[in-house]
Symmetry: D3
């Protein structure tokens, strides 16, 4: 399966190539961390809100909390979707992705080191072209890192403590026309037989693996090929996150 | 009252001066019209979604419909607000502003010329610093104009018909420390004794006047001074809208 | 524009004439203040509920709180409307009017003098014929005054303190067939080009001015003519409120 | 048990005496039938809204539909209750009473004779002092009769058809301090060991019997004594309904 | 009416005969009391959850609380019903029955003896064939008794205190084809002219009597015949409850 | 890692051993397919409701639809959870699992062969002890197969058509104390570092792979070991499903 060099992706990429990725920090003047991340035409605004204190069920534990909420603007997609606030309830897909983002970021958080503080990550999709949840996780990590640094700068986190135990990024992979591809755009996504979202830490271990047979059940070797692609993609993203965070913010 | 040249506004503006205004068209790849408008640090993404057909109650009338929805991202403001979708209901302020935007745009729409088509304006505040509803109206008009042009280009609106009967823009005015000021930023807004939002057509007539005494009831002459400022501000905004729309989009 | 003596209003009134207004105090046996107000066929039951204590966010401030809720009975209007409780959510119009009534009454409240007490005004429209929000404000002020007097009588408000800093009333005005009219009934309201609700204090200053172009944008001189009518109408209403409150209640 | 002539009720009534009952027809200008009914200090506004057509599940059946909604104004009671519209859901008690009123009225409706028309009864409690559901049923029947007559007058119901097969009224009974009492006021109601609501047709048969042991289970002879009282009370109410409907309305 | 020995019920029972009743205790491994009760093909799982503490409004009273929630699985009935959780609101019927079950059980509870503890009864209908609410009450009483015994065993209720003042069971009765029948199955229920649910204590007194004329109002003698049947049926059920509780649980 | 024969699981199982699994068909008298499935103490009632017709968005396509809803009874777990119907909204976890079950079953459905019919799978957890979603999928497949057979028997599916393209089952796996285990019970689940749910077809391919690092990110070899266990467990479950379906139902 690896021997398909001649595949021509819709946007000219090779099977194992990411779309152009940009990570713009300090996008918002209010949030403690804020990142506009783009994976090609997918653009997600990730803000990290730091507040002292924790939810009631965690008070007195000495531990912090990190959670996330994901949403799409109504016209982020090709046809306008109803607002969930107007419908009066959150859909299953939104719930599912919000939970995935929260779990992914908590995988690299040391609650004790964070102390009794809460960080909420809001990931709002401004424009969607496939891979919104993976872009959200990748961008949210950077916003989270900025919020942690902000709190450390204000001594809201005890000196010497490191709430972040690693880095985390995510990417989608899928089998389209029999070929495993990295970082599917929307048009590829709808044609995929199998669709998988993989969240990795910077050291290459897995935080979350979610693979779904859209059309046809998939075999073990296909799963393996997808995991190879995803690990490699997450590695590139981790490097891009590192570079983005190395820049000194003027803010 | 006009004789207060020495007032020093927080950002150095004169009492009758707008903040820097930018109107960025074709911001989104999906929407028929999309504008990122900024009034200083207030940034609102306005998308216009054109669909053929009208709501059930209007079918067979031969007339179109235009409506609007306004929302704020949770961390558009200085402290994070709960998502209305998570709370399961829309707050009164959101309802009020959505209705205001819809009425303002409908004031320059000829339903017959639009035909049985619907345009929904989504105004999502990405960053707030006062005047979000007036920026939203001003930007939404441009997105609306683009969506109308898009539909005309695809013959979805009959040849020769002009659904737009004029242009519309809006600005806030208020009395701060006894001085009438144009286009309040958030810090001025919270100190204002009186706060007014004025929506005008390009020919200087009023579509909506909403004045509220925040601290102290206001006198007729104060009202007059505020209206003078607002009319002048809306005139400038109308000119900026015209310039933005004169640019040829490559999209 | 004032020179239109020959206009014939649907109910025979002159352009600047209010409908017959009645203010019936102590309508309910339970509420601390309760008023059945009528502006012609519009009838609104306004009750003021006084409770010791304030909402959580205001505790310890030494200041009180006043808020309002507006609603219509399902068959207050010509065709039955769905109950908002059955629909499970409050509509935008209801939200908007509840907020307007609350702001209007708070404009004449000295929170410090009220102390940590709360007064809730419920304005339920029993029968609607235009101007329900202005009748509600006008009646609610009287119910509020009664509730304040009730609390003073029970020493729930400190001796010598005056929570009410003035009086407040409201009226609608509009341009119908080119003529500015005071206190529109429903049939006039639906034909109005411009519709304005004005809330004034008893000393003739403005608390709220909300003008909307229903059909055609309006010019500055039209706005001025409407404001003249409204100020005069609110003056008459303030006098009627004063007379109603001068009566000694037996209750 | 009947031998307790010396009981002294809080308002001086004998055990088998109703409170003063008033039935004011044509209270509202809009509704096809509207009645302000009072049982002592309990006041309920009952409106009947007639519309042509039936709900979807009944279309084409040739049969009509009658339903009811009950609600209390927030300050109908001694302490203010939250609005169900604001809470976003209807409480169990409201549901239960709305269903009871609907069933009671449907018991005297001939759906075929009504034809494919719908009548909705809205029973809004303006002031509560016990027995609101029984007053509502009693008043709603009169409003229903007026709406039926209205429709017959407009030929919306076929000539010669009689949608009403009888009359219906309701009353509460209860055992207070060991004594069976008719038509409990609120103060009696809270002290009752057993509380029963009985709905009867004009010919003395039962439509609904709902007895609840509030404090102590009740014996068969107590149940019998309560039923005797209720049948007698409903008989008096049926007579009052008849008299009210005999009056010619000028409307 | 009693002289109808030849009636042939759909399942061959005599008019005064219960369906086969089973009461299976300790059905669930988690709940403090849990009973799978069946009245013929009607199967209800009743669990009693004991928790220390009471709702906020009862704190410090020294008294406990007992409440109930009733629900049906979507396919408990012949055609699938929507889930109330998916619809986002509880229907009137569900509310009504939950309230009935709670009241019925509270009728045999001594709150003081229970102490500040709460017992919640969940009655979930797994399969419905008429009489779900009466089966629920009958089974819930047994689950309640088990939860009380569980708490006594763990000294969560003070030694010597008896929170249960009696036993409670319920049965439906109705008039079908002119004949009073005990314990209606679904097919009988839909044909019934009158339908009554009766809740009795073990000593034969009434806790709740709810009779409804489905088709035709009913006369006093019919009511009497139904009450006779119900009292007899509840007596049998009380005996079955006693036998079930006499068995020693191994759990 | 495979070399850990000495591990002692809480219930004495070997690492690769399933809990006792029972599949009881035709549990309910109403549903077209109904299965009470148990994986040890986890018991899920799965009903399949067959209805002719499809949702609006699928009409005219000639294709059918299969969907699923998952829920837990309030006291299925060790401490009582609030009912989602009472809270008025469905939680994220419930949404997520309902979607997973639906996707899993649709993976073995040929929509064309099903024709324009809908099958809804309701999976209600009566008792929970870990693995509720995997038991639900495994049981729901059998209910689905029964509903398909029912419809074929009634000629609601065209002769010769096979709507089921295979079988599907699911199992959980996880790493507890460094050891990969199959089919975790609740107590193991809360201690797991990594938790994975795997859905396989009867021929051993993957429909869904969902792995989550609960405590520590997991390495590729751990993922491989878990997948090995899961594939083996699903194979056993497929065999149990086959046996269950081979039995002739008397119903």
């Amino acid at each position: 399966m690896a021997a398909t060099p001649s595949v021509s992706r819709i946007d000219g990429r090779t099977p194992g190539q990411l779309r152009p990725v940009t990570i713009e920090r300090a996008w918002s003047k209010h949030a403690e961390g804020s990142v506009l991340v783009s994976f090609g035409d997918t653009k997600v605004l990730c803000t990290a809100s730091f507040t002292e204190g924790v939810p009631r069920w965690r008070k007195g534990s000495g531990e912090g909390w990190v959670t996330a909420e994901y949403a799409m603007l109504p016209r982020a997609t090709n046809t306008r979707g109803d607002r969930e606030s107007v419908r009066g309830k959150i859909g299953g897909r939104t719930h599912e992705i919000s939970r995935l983002i929260g779990r992914s970021l908590r995988a690299v958080i040391d609650y004790k080191a964070l102390g009794e503080n809460t960080i909420v990550l809001d990931c709002d999709v401004l424009q969607a072209d496939g891979g919104t949840r993976t872009a959200a996780i990748t961008g949210a990590y950077v916003a989270l890192a900025d919020a942690v640094a902000w709190a450390q700068g204000r001594k809201l986190i005890k000196a010497g403590r490191k709430p972040l135990t690693g880095t985390v990024s995510a990417v989608s992979v899928g089998i389209v026309g029999g070929v495993p591809l990295l970082d599917l755009c929307y048009e590829e996504d709808v044609k995929a037989d199998t669709d998988m979202n993989v969240v990795c830490t910077g050291d290459g271990r897995f935080v979350e693996v979610q693979g779904t047979a859209e059309a046809e059940p998939f075999a073990r070797e296909e799963l393996n090929a997808l995991l190879d692609l995803a690990v490699s993609g997450c590695g590139e993203l981790a490097e891009l996150q590192r570079k983005a965070l190395d820049t000194v913010l003027e803010k």
